[in-house]
Amino acid sequence: MQDFEYQKPKTVTEAGDAFNAQSDGSFLAGGQTLIPVLKQGLAMPSGLIDLAGIEDLQGITATESTLTVGAMTTHARVAASPEVQKAIPALAGLAGGIGDPQVRNRGTLGGSLANNDPSADYPAAVLALSAVVVTDKRRIPADGFFTGMFETALDEGELITDVEFPVAERAAYAKFPNPASRYAVAGVFVARVDGAVRVAVTGAGPGVFRAAEMEAALDKDFQADALEGIAVSEADLIADIHASAGYRAHLIGVMAGRAVDAANANVGAA
């Protein structure tokens, strides 16, 4: 690992200034992806701006219709949060299934979104729930946020501060994990918000994406059976030693069905 300058600002403004002062700065959130990347020498920033000291980026608040999660809130905190469990239990469940307990204690929502790993879990929730990614400069709707593999709409130096999740009527996430890394080989988040169904797929493609045909079918009938006969195209999916594109396409269908069943069961239980 190459050495770098380390800074730990106390405010969002200071963080922006610190970033701009670097020739090649990088924000450090939980570090659960960035530090392994640095260790492998795949990134060599001139400076790291640690966001852990910024109080404003922490915390969870809920209203009737919206759940707001600070960018630096850890997965463990989201998973254990009574507010999240009450408002969007599927989101708590998703957070509790990311990585392993140690990763969940450090990894953050904002870090996960800004990195936009194609097999990360959170992007599926953000996209399916039609959340709004709030930055230090603007509000970015989920549909415009994820732009490609490890690519987002964030500008250089732009910082996620919060994510606003609409409270869903029904929602669930089902993932098929990679046996080694435990990242998603295919993960599907299904949500019905304000009567509209959204289905977001992670792990299977070069970035999180929506499954329009499934959304249309579930809009008509929010039952797993409604998905039968919908073939997911493998054309744009990832293939690696763990899963071919065809298998991923198949898993998307299975996981979507299971997510719908779980979403309906969640409601039944409540």
């Binding site: 098929f176 890394s181 030693i241």
Partner: protein, 788 residues
């Protein structure tokens, strides 16, 4: 103070140190003034080295030394030879062995092969310096598949070894098998793969070396399983010096499983650098480098054929294997796929005749050497898979045909076609006991529930029979201290198996002395004159018997002193329960008292001196033992995703005499978990250019806590072997031997309604799902065709 017995689950002495962070592993050892070494490894699977320019690295501040293959050869150092016990081709000629130097000489033959050693003030500096060494490679075609490597137009690894063939081996009765094949009602054929995996002990390899110019001696701390053999290779083969010039010590070792048994290039490089620089040098592999540079195991492609009659009687077994062993013979690379896999063909079944042929082939990959079981898991897998496959093909009950063909105890001793002398055991009894323990009938209701939920239940039983191995001699030394301590030094080695406890338990039980008084020493070439280390499940069989033999010698010596103390004749004394007793007078004296007296000049006779009870004893094995047993597994499979969940696991083992059942359980559990790992998620994969795809734990799937089931383990102790005085049959590898077929066959049982009869391991979820989609469209012949 505790009295212990043989067979008691004594808790481990080493635990406190490990549980509190006071273990001392290789990376915890730092010598005053040490420099740090890092290895520059080849990024090509096959390439000519046109030039190495290290000037950039040498110019960097903190860089002390760069050693290349040219430097190494200029020093006159020798290659490390293979020590395989199998050396002859079928035609009687010698196997082909290319020279294996510590650094690549002019040509690299696998990704990860050491090209240069860099030594610097710190590890980060040394790693940064790697980027400043400019190696000019000319890429050559590579071959990483063994069957392809045998093809006439395959890239050739060695100019003087035609066809990439290391050895073409056979064993058994070729003609007898052909005759039985012609006569039997059926000959069932199955091609199968035993996938390439690696041990991944959680502690990576590493070493720390120093050189003392005054005595011209080296000191090497090394995370190894085998200090004596490796010391000998370094001294005699590499450096050409007396072996006494190197003291080789293994501190606490964080797992081995065979992978730390090999003679690797890094330790001699470190010793050389230490001498050259006049300061200690430390080298620690990281995990990514470990995947590239540790030895791998299994990796066999085989055609297995079973001759079987309509009534299910086995008539003959024939296996033909092709195995890639990497670019070199390494330590005993050619042994595993040849003799190692041949001996236990046919398992515990009564095969009138068997034949085994195997070719070990050079390929452009890292080295292959023993991994837990080293051939016996492969042989058991081949045998049990063909039986299961034949049962399915012929519509026979897989449990019944096993029951029918198991060797009856009255047939023992029996020498198989493979030359294996099976002396004792009761295979039918162990089989029935396992079946009773697992009670597959009790799963009926659960199986229904599982099916209702869209998944399928499967069960399989897999008897196994294996054999032990490793160095045939072992030393145990016992030395008494005036303070009451008893020092026990043994040449076998624990890398986690708990010898500090079990060996001490054995000595204390035999001598009738308190367990806590025994101080255990191992893995130090200065402490024992010989030592076979750890390998081939030899710990108790060799080390344990050496300890028992040494205990016998101590008792013999002590009886003389006891007679003196009791004013009796030694011949009149009996030793029982830790005391010598005069059968005439009834007078007795305990071993503890005799030991005390041996340090008391008042009580010692004139012709004895303090320390007179000390002994050093070498035990020599007559024949390897035959551990055997039976595994059973229950699984559920989700045909929609291909996901597999282990529901239950049962084992009955015959390890002969059990010294410490707690530790034996641990060996079985760990071995089964490694077998489950290989079957489900572990797999070494290279791409076409020879790059390792599964080079980190992000891609190489080790079993986690949620993937291994609870196991029920019992022992059959009715057949202690007479091949060694303790009656033990090695326990260390058996878990790995039985688990491969048990799990695979259980999964295939779950999939039988889909017509799935075979899937090559690992049973990844995609492969399982595809097999279900294909409704069993399996070609039993295809994998090895090109090589036959």
């Amino acid at each position: 103070m505790t009295d212990v017995t043989i067979g008691q689950p004594v808790r481990r002495s080493e635990d406190e140190r490990f549980l509190t962070g006071r273990g001392r592993y290789i990376d915890d050892i730092n010598l005053e003034g040490q420099a740090r070494a890092v290895v520059l490894r080849s990024v090509y699977a096959h390439a000519r080295i046109k030039n190495i320019d290290a000037s950039g690295a040498l110019a960097m501040e903190g860089v002390l030394l760069v050693v290349t293959g040219e430097d190494w050869i200029a020093e006159g150092f020798g290659p490390m030879p293979t020590k395989t016990a199998i050396r002859k081709n079928r035609d009687g000629s010698e196997l082909s062995e290319p020279p294996r130097h510590c650094l690549a000489i002019g040509r690299v033959r696998y990704v990860g092969e050491p090209v240069a050693l860099v030594v610097a003030e710190t590890d980060p500096i040394a790693r940064d310096a790697l980027d400043l060494i400019d190696v000019d490679y000319e890429s050559l075609d590579a071959v990483t598949d063994a069957v392809e490597a045998l093809a006439p137009d395959a890239p050739q690894l060695w100019d003087d070894i035609p066809g990439n063939l290391c050895i073409d081996f056979e064993l058994g009765d070729r003609e007898g098998v052909e005759k039985a094949f012609a006569e039997a009602d059926h000959v069932i054929t199955l091609d199968l793969e035993n996938n390439r995996v690696t041990a991944v002990p959680i502690e990576p390899r590493g070493c720390v070396g120093s050189y003392d110019p005054e005595t011209d001696t080296y000191l090497l701390y090394n995370s190894t399983q085998n200090v004596h053999a490796i010391r000998d290779t370094l001294a005699e083969n590499v450096f050409g010096i007396d072996k006494e010039k190197i003291r080789h010590i293994a501190p606490d070792v964080g797992g081995g499983f065979g992978v730390k048994n090999s003679a690797y290039p890094e330790p001699p490089l470190v010793l050389y650098a230490a001498k050259k620089l006049g300061r200690p040098v430390k080298w620690i592999n990281n995990r990514s480098e470990s995947f590239l540079s540790d030895t791998h195991g299994r990796g066999q492609t085989s055609r297995v054929q079973l001759a079987i009659d309509n009534d299910g009687t086995f008539r003959a077994l024939r296996t033909e294997t092709v195995a890639g062993i990497g670019a070199y013979c390494w330590t005993i690379g050619p042994f595993t796929p040849t003799g190692g896999s041949a001996r236990t063909q046919g398992g515990p079944y009564d095969f009138p005749v068997m034949y085994y042929r195997s070719r070990a082939v050079f390929i452009n990959t890292g080295p292959m050497d023993p991994y837990r079981g080293a051939g016996r898991p492969e042989a058991t897998f081949q045998t049990e898979r063909i039986i299961e496959y034949a049962a399915r093909q012929l519509g026979l009950d897989p449990i019944e045909i096993r029951r029918k063909n198991l060797m009856r105890p009255e047939k023992l001793p029996h020498k198989t076609s493979m030359g294996l002398n099976i002396d004792c055991g009761d295979f039918p009894k162990v089989f029935e006991r396992t079946l009773k323990l697992a009670d597959p009938g009790s799963f009926a209701e659960r199986a229904e529930q599982i099916k209702t939920a869209g998944r399928r239940f499967g069960f399989a039983i897999a008897p196994y029979l294996e054999c032990t191995g490793g160095g045939p001699k072992e030393f145990a030394g016992v030395a008494f201290g005036a303070d009451g301590t008893v020092s026990l030094s043994v040449g076998s080695q624990s890398t986690g198996m708990g010898h500090e406890t079990s060996m001490a338990q054995l000595l204390a039980a035999r001598l009738g002395i308190p367990f806590e008084r025994v101080e255990y020493h191992q893995a130090d070439t200065d402490k024992t004159p010989i030592g076979g280390g750890h390998g081939g499940s030899r710990g108790m069989e060799l080390g344990g018997n050496a300890v028992a033999q040494a205990a016998g010698e101590v008792i013999e010596k002590a009886s003389g002193l006891a007679a003196h103390l009791l004013q009796s004749k030694a011949a009149d004394l009996t030793f029982e329960g830790g005391s010598f007793k005069d059968s005439g007078s009834g007078a007795s004296v305990s071993m503890v008292e005799v030991i005390e007296a041996s340090f008391d000049s008042e009580r010692l006779p004139d012709d004895l001196e303090p320390g007179c009870l000390d002994t050093g004893s070498t035990f020599e094995r007559g024949e390897i033992s035959i551990p055997n047993g039976c595994h059973a597994a229950a699984v559920e499979v989700d045909p929609k995703t291909g996901a597999i969940l282990l529901l239950g696991y049962w084992v009955v083992d015959d390890f002969g005499t059990i010294i410490n059942p707690l530790l034996a359980d641990g060996q079985v559990m760990g071995g089964v978990a490694q077998g489950i790992g290989q079957v489900l998620t572990e797999n070494i994969v290279f791409d076409d250019s020879g790059q390792l795809i599964t080079g980190s734990l992000m891609d190489y799937g080790l079993p986690r806590a949620d993937g291994v089931p609870d196991m029920v383990i019992e022992y059959y102790e009715g057949a202690p072997t007479k091949k060694n005085p303790l009656g033990v049959k090695g326990a260390g590898e058996a878990g790995c031997v039985g688990s491969l077929p048990a799990v695979v066959n259980a999964v295939l049982d779950a999939l039988k309604e889909f017509g799935v009869v075979h899937i090559d391991i690992p049973l990844t979820s995609e492969k399982v799902w595809r097999a279900v989609q294909d409704q069993g469209a399996h070609d039993p012949k295809g994998l090895i065709e090109g090589a036959l």
